[in-house]
């Protein structure tokens, strides 16, 4: 007997293959990887070791390498000094307006770099008594500004000199260091500090004896990231420090200056130095990230 609507023979159910799915993922991924690889290979093969060596003999480029290394190292150290306390406070304490402050601290990350430079420049040259500017002297007709105060009273000019390079790098690099330190402290259980408190520590002893040693790898990662961010910084430096040879010239400035005068070989040579530094930083941060200890 055949019952209407009922299947007498069950049909074998087939699940479609996964190949199209994987092929799409790989195809889309490969577009980016090929572009990246092509870009790096083009840089490498458009010059020779001899040309790089020749570029490195230039006094301007030597100064730029030296200033980059010194300013980035100072920036990384300063960033760590600021990122550790802010990261710790943001990780451990709840307070009103914390979400707003959290977003505020990310401003340098999302702000266009040129705006950071312009903001610093305007801040340093803003008349201190803006409703009725007070002049330094009647002859110059220059009002008192933060820049004038530092220059006249402390003999420490900032704008268009080396301190401005460091400050411009610091404003962006520090934001990355803060984020890294906050994540580091988030991963360290507050329980260890609480136990230290019961064992006789006050807050600062618990911080120095327990939290800081446990966050050492995070601190190294934050410093490395800050250093590499500072090394690639160009926009804020161009506005706040200008691009003056043998004065405020860092490696990205050199690329810009060499390229603008038509010496693309020197620009490529300096770019390869930055590529080398970036690869070194990548390897170092990956190594630090992978070898985290767990209890």
């Amino acid at each position: 007997m055949k019952v209407s609507g009922q299947r007498t023979q069950s049909k074998v159910f087939k699940v479609g293959g996964d190949t199209p799915f994987y092929a799409t993922l790989i195809f889309l991924g490969m577009i980016f990887i090929i572009l990246l690889l092509g870009m790096l290979l083009a840089l490498i093969f458009s010059t020779t070791p001899g040309k790089i060596w020749q570029a490195l003999q230039s006094e301007n480029i030597q100064y730029s390498i030296k200033l980059s290394l010194v300013s980035c190292t100072i920036t990384a150290i300063l960033s760590l000094w600021v990122a550790v306390p802010i990261g710790y406070l943001m990780s451990r304490f709840q307070f009103r307006g914390k979400n707003i402050l959290d977003a505020f601290l990310d401003i340098p990350i999302v702000l266009p770099p040129l705006v950071v430079g312009l903001g610093l420049l305007v801040m340093f040259h803003f008349p201190l008594w803006w409703d009725q500017p007070v002049m330094i002297s009647e002859a110059t007709a220059e009002p008192w500004t933060l820049e004038a105060l530092l220059r006249e009273k402390l003999n420490f000019p900032v704008t268009f000199s080396v301190p401005s390079v460091i400050l411009a790098q610091f404003m962006v690099a520090c934001a990355f260091a803060i984020r890294t330190m906050r994540n580091t402290f988030d991963q360290i259980s507050p329980r260890t500090e609480e136990v230290a408190l019961t064992l006789g520590c006050n807050r600062s002893k618990a911080f120095y004896k327990i939290v800081l040693p446990e966050s050492l790898r995070g601190m190294l990662t934050a410093a490395t990231l800050a250093w590499s961010r500072a090394l690639g910084e160009f926009g804020p430096i161009l506005i706040f420090s200008s691009a003056t040879r043998m004065r405020t010239e860092v490696l990205p400035t050199t690329i810009f200056l060499e390229f603008s005068v038509g010496d693309s070989e020197a620009a490529v040579a300096v770019s390869l130095i930055l590529v080398g530094a970036a690869i070194f930083v990548l390897i170092l941060t990956r190594h630090l990230g992978n070898s985290k200890q767990m209890v």
């Binding site: 259980s189 329980r191 260890t192 609480e194 136990v195 230290a196 408190l197 019961t198 064992l199 006789g200 520590c201 006050n202 002893k205 004896k209 327990i210 040693p213 446990e214 050492l216 200890q293 767990m294 209890v295």
Partner: protein, 209 residues
């Protein structure tokens, strides 16, 4: 002696209120209750890690409610043990003694004595990473006992251990009690643990919201 009177502690949106109990000097008390009943909150309040709204906590006759955690003389073993990942077992046992500025030789003597009791002598140079559950437990206990506290607070100390290790730890707790005479408050919801160790049992059956 531990005397808690009409204790009221706020923990987030919850409030543990009207808690009173006493544990005589040298006794071993177990505080039982369901998960979320506020047992850990009470223990943390006694240790000085939670702000108390009102009430009184006296340890060995001294009101401690306004004292900082390190001034209360309590050895605390939290549920997750919270070992210091960068320190060796020796440094764990010596930690509270270094803070109290004991001499190097006195610290060494005390650490050796503790390591001997707790079978940690072979592990003194090791870090927590790679220690077994029972070994970590003994390190946390040794760290809490090193400075001769008058009170020991244990927050579900055996919850993460297998049955064999748990049996071993019962003996360790009994040895500690015999040797130190420390007044102990132990939190658990395990009935067997309670039967093996407790002189007194307290139950918390409701949490005020």
């Amino acid at each position: 002696m531990i005397e808690v009177k009409d204790l009221c502690v706020r923990a987030g949106n919850f409030m543990v209120s009207g808690i009173s109990f006493e544990v005589a000097t040298g006794n071993y008390a177990v505080l039982m209750g369901r998960t979320g009943s506020g047992k850990t909150t009470i223990l943390e309040a006694i240790c000085g890690l939670k702000q108390v709204e009102r009430g009184s906590i006296k340890l060995m006759g001294r009101e401690v409610i306004h004292l900082r955690p390190g001034e209360r003389g309590i050895g605390f073993v939290p549920q997750d043990l919270a070992l210091f990942s960068t320190m060796t077992v020796y440094e764990h046992l010596a930690f509270s003694l270094g803070i109290r500025k004991w001499s190097r030789s006195n610290i060494e003597t005390r650490v050796k004595e503790l390591a001997d009791w707790l079978s940690l002598t072979e592990l003194l140079s090791r870090k927590p990473l790679g220690l077994s559950g029972g070994e970590k437990q003994r390190v946390a206990l040794g760290r809490a006992l090193a400075f001769n506290p008058s009170v020991l607070c244990l927050d579900e100390p055996l919850s993460a251990l297998d049955d064999d290790t748990r049996e071993e730890m019962y003996d360790v707790f009994k040895t500690v009690r015999e040797r130190t005479g420390v007044t102990t408050l132990h939190i658990t919801h395990n009935v067997k643990e309670t039967e093996k160790l407790a002189d007194h049992i307290f139950y918390i059956d409701k949490l005020l919201v």
